[in-house]
Structures are given as C-alpha cells and as structure tokens.
Assembly symmetry: C2
Homo-oligomer: 113 residues x 2
Amino acid sequence: MNLENTQVQMRKGILEYCILHIISRGEVYASDMLDELTNARMIVVEGTLYPLLTRLKNSGLVEYKWVESKSGPPRKYYKLTDMGSSFLAGLTETWNELVHSTASITKRSQTPA
Amino acid sequence: MNLENTQVQMRKGILEYCILHIISRGEVYASDMLDELTNARMIVVEGTLYPLLTRLKNSGLVEYKWVESKSGPPRKYYKLTDMGSSFLAGLTETWNELVHSTASITKRSQTPA
DNA sequence: CCAAGTACTTGGCCATACATAGTACTTCCT
DNA sequence: AGGAAGTACTATGTATGGCCAAGTACTTGG
C-alpha cells in the first residue's frame, strides 16, 4: 500500500470515461489519444490503452475503420456508436456524483457541528 | 461492460482517500464511517469497509483501540498515525490532480482550436 | 436459554491497469 | 535487394481492490 499504487487504483474506471470523451469529439486513433491524455497529465501506456479500446469495441460502445497511413501501417480510427454516446452520458453523471460526494467528505471541517 | 460495473471501478482507490479523511477528523469506528459515507451518497458495504480498514492498519496508516459499548460488542476506534497523515496529504494531491486532468479533457469543446 | 441486534471477519469472484514481449507493415539507407 | 528503424496493434500474465455472502462473537431482552 503505497502512493504510486493508490494512484493507479484511482485511475481505474476514470480512464474509460476520458477515452470515451476524447473519441466523442471526433475520429481519432490510438496515438492521438495517447498524446491528448499525456497533455492532460493523465499518464497512460500502450499496454493499457489498446486492451481498453478492444473492450470498448467488443461492447459495442465504439467502432472503427481502417485508414491507410503515409508513414507506417494502417490505423484504426475510432468513433462512438449511439450506444457509446448514451453510455458516456451515464458515465458523466456517475463521475460528477463521485466528485461531488468526495468533495462533501473532504471539504468538511475538522470538527463538524 | 455496464454502467454499474464502471461505477465500481471508478470507486477504486477513492474510497481509501475518503476513509482516511473521515478518520483524520477524529476517532471513529466502522459504523460511524458507514453512516458518513452513506450521507455523502458514497454507498459502501461492510464487506468493502472492513477489509480496507485492515489493510490500512497493516500498512501502519491507522491504529485503533478497543472501546466497550453499552449496546453490543466492543468497537474498534480508529485514528490516523503520523504516517497516515502524510499519506493522506499525498493522496489529496493525487486526487486533485486527477480531477483536474479529467476536467481538462472533458471540458474541452467539441471542436478544439 | 434462546432470539435479536451489533460489530467484526473471512473466502472467493470479477474487472481493470500495467509490464513485457511479440507481430506486421512501411520507409529509409546502403 | 536486403536489413535496420519506426509505427501501429496484439497477446499474456500479475497484482489490486471492491463486492457478495456466509460466518463468528459479544450483549441485551423476553
């Protein structure tokens, strides 16, 4: 039980939410997502992202099409399905509630009334 | 892959943060914590809380003393150790960063500049 | 003496994040 | 043409934590 590990645990589930959000803004492929996540200081590695995308695809939340690249192998460009959109809406609500609940606990003063 | 499950995954690690926060405000026992978490709409069940408290204790982040009760068996009253306090400080930073990172992804408009 | 309530414990299940290694395709350099 | 380097994706195994469900132990009241 150390800080680093807890950081990892805190990320669980949130990543899925962030990925869906990124995909919801337009068609992207894996490296695009990695860049954006890194920019937001949400560190993710390939070994986490690719399996997650596969899960999202198998669940019918996202779909992709192959697009040839001028530099390297073809890429999978992802976009949300209708199901993915409503799932994202549900996740957004869940996340907001969670943040709110956490705030209501952590913001309370040392000696509650 | 359903909403309920993702909700569970999102909770990971966050619970630990909330529990430590509650304990940091004064000596409490398990049912006190359950009440407070429930009030904050952070639903938790016994089977989650007790093992977590055991982990925190084994890691030296919290300690407890037995206190007899007038109605039922004795209770374990928990409080933070020094190590627990600094761990909580670290967790607070981690959580704030995570919320910030998530916000910077989700708040971005549909068509970034 | 047994039933009910309270407090805590334990074992097994599941899903995710990560490390690591591997495959396949393209381009560049010699 | 052939090999190295780079890019994109895949596969496998490990660890952790939340949850369900069943169980133990102590106290009080009929």
